[in-house]
């Protein structure tokens, strides 16, 4: 079966002021099936948000292909790309920054419909507000009258207006308080089930990602270093960075704490990447080869099974 989304070798470089190259995203490949949720985790600066934007062609990627329903959208002319956008939407961390404060909620939620010349805007807006759990009269109000959680509901209603097939959710609950966070996670999970939405769920919060995703990709320094189904990754991370990342998260009360692997040092400079594996300088298990050759993200033998991980510790399967 053709996947809904197939990303091949996606790369995003930026020029720095000093004339150098900032490698935000390097050679990222993965597929996403219809209705599937792929979680993207990693720390600030690992390229996860860049990935979300590049997949939607909100930036102009330096190299690579993004196949959406059998079309490489990076090659589409402007008008065709605009039509394609109906099927791919994004929700950001800060809904206040994403919604125009001078417009009423009904205008904000209906705007995608208006832009794409869809009929029956008013009825659809009422339906969408109901879908995200907002009272009908919210339509006449302004964004500053709402709390953070309600604003995120409005942003979600707007993103869903055109019934997209793919939703990129970039830290959608990170700015929200714990008690509101679960309301929005439940909303997103429910919508996914009802509408068969495929999602890239980007977050630094591992427990949130674990909760909503079927598969998870761990990013480090612009690359995916491991990708696996959520349960296997959480139970037995293979890549030493994935192990350290999972162990660094303080477990909530009542959950057995993991043995903490304290990493030395910090992320390398993205304008001056180290040779070999980008993680070797912080890795407790680094070998001589790690400083010389970059390990490819390919199926490797991990224990008795096979895992897509980019680490020389494991033999290529």
């Amino acid at each position: 079966m053709t996947p809904l989304l197939e990303v091949r070798g996606l790369t995003q470089h930026y020029r720095t002021e000093g004339g150098g190259t900032l490698r935000a995203l390097e050679d990222v490949s993965f597929t996403l099936a219809e209705g599937e949720v792929l979680g993207i985790v990693g720390e600030s600066g690992c390229g996860k948000s860049t990935l979300g934007r590049a997949v939607l062609r909100l930036t102009q990627p330096t190299a690579g292909e993004v196949w959406f329903e059998g079309q490489d959208i990076l090659q589409l002319p402007r008008a065709a790309m605009r039509r394609r956008r109906r099927d791919m939407q994004i929700v950001f961390q800060d809904p206040f920054g994403a919604l125009n404060p001078r417009h009423r909620v009904r205008t904000l939620v209906g705007e995608p419909l208006t832009i794409h010349g869809m009929p029956g805007v008013a009825a659809r807006v009422a339906e969408l507000l109901d879908l995200v759990g907002l009272p009908a009269e919210s339509g006449g109000r302004y964004i500053h009258e709402f709390s953070g959680g309600q604003r995120q509901r409005i942003a979600i209603a707007r993103a869903l207006a055109l019934s997209p097939k793919l939703l990129v959710a970039d830290e959608p609950v990170s700015a929200l308080d714990v008690s509101i966070q679960s309301q929005i996670i439940n909303l997103i999970a429910g919508l996914k089930r009802r509408m068969g939405l495929a999602m890239l769920f980007i977050s630094h919060d591992l427990s949130v990602v674990r909760h909503v995703s079927a598969r998870i990709a761990v990013m480090y320094f612009g690359r995916i270093v491991e990708i696996a189904d959520a349960a296997s990754l959480f139970d037995h991370p293979a890549h030493p960075y994935a192990q350290a990342l999972l162990s660094a998260v303080p477990q909530p009360p009542g959950v057995a704490p993991r043995i903490r692997i304290l990493l030395e040092g910090e992320l390398p400079d993205p304008t001056n990447p180290p040779p070999g594996c980008a993680f070797h300088g912080r890795c407790a298990q680094a070998m001589a080869v790690c400083a010389q050759a970059r390990p490819a993200l390919v199926p490797r033998r991990v224990g008795a099974g096979v895992r897509d991980t980019a680490c020389h510790l494991y033999e290529v399967a």
């Binding site: 600030s44 679960s182 959520a230 009360p253």
Partner: protein, 315 residues
Amino acid sequence: MTAPVLQVEGLTLVAGDAALVEEVSFAIAPGEMLALVGESGCGKSVTALAIMRLLAPAIRRVHGRITLDGSDLAALDDEAMRRLRGDRMGMIFQEPMTSLNPVFTVGEQIAEVLRIHRGLSRRAALGRVAELLDLVGLPTPAAQLGRYPHQLSGGQRQRVMIAIALACEPALLVADEPTTALAVTVQAQILALIDRLRRQLDMACLLITHDLGVVAAFCDRAAVMYAGRIVESGPAAEVFANPRHRYTDALVRTMPARNPPGEVLPAIAGQVPPPGSRGEGCSFAPRCPAVLAECARLPALSGRPHGVACWNPVR
């Protein structure tokens, strides 16, 4: 029991007619780490600012007493308070970049504290600065002295802030969301550092955080705030393993890591009431699954060491 370093009694803060914090009391012993935990707007940060006497002019302390080493902070004049901050009381905030001066080197900024509070000469101060940088785990301290804040990563800047806060070996460290702006693996490093230093220096530590995981992993005691009041307090492990207040209980239950993947999370309906519209009784009552008629009256915080302010606590 050792005398507490910090004691807060009945602290009540208002802005205009709205109460931000009501009747907040707690104490911290030397070497102890207490977490003030809660969601945005619960009053945890403004409580920390009141302790440091850094409240915005619009916010008034209408009731309560704050003592450090037994002396009432309200009795100090501004000059005495200024001498106290940075000396007996160290502070770290969420965003180290906005707390550091971009045009001075790291060495100069740490040395400044020692020159002001200890009257050290430039040269003597710089010697101590290298020791401090070593203490907070910055590699090659001597090489760090001449660097500017923008040349450091977020984690390194927070280490510099900690070095500044600890320069005079304070009796109390107030840390307001010190790791919220940092990457996950760096967060763990900074928390482990604060944890080690408070033991090593026998320093009382007040940690303001919204992260229950951090509290459970690093703190001795926790006080949970909701809508301006402490609703539950006690040994951190105990409070979260056996929460008694319905709010704490709901908060712990709703966390994704506590639930099977993919299942509907037991969400807390509704929202925190804003200051000024908190009503007479228990502020959590409108969202509470176990509300009783009594909840229209305010419950007192009672019980030791595990206290709860609830008419119908979890048994």
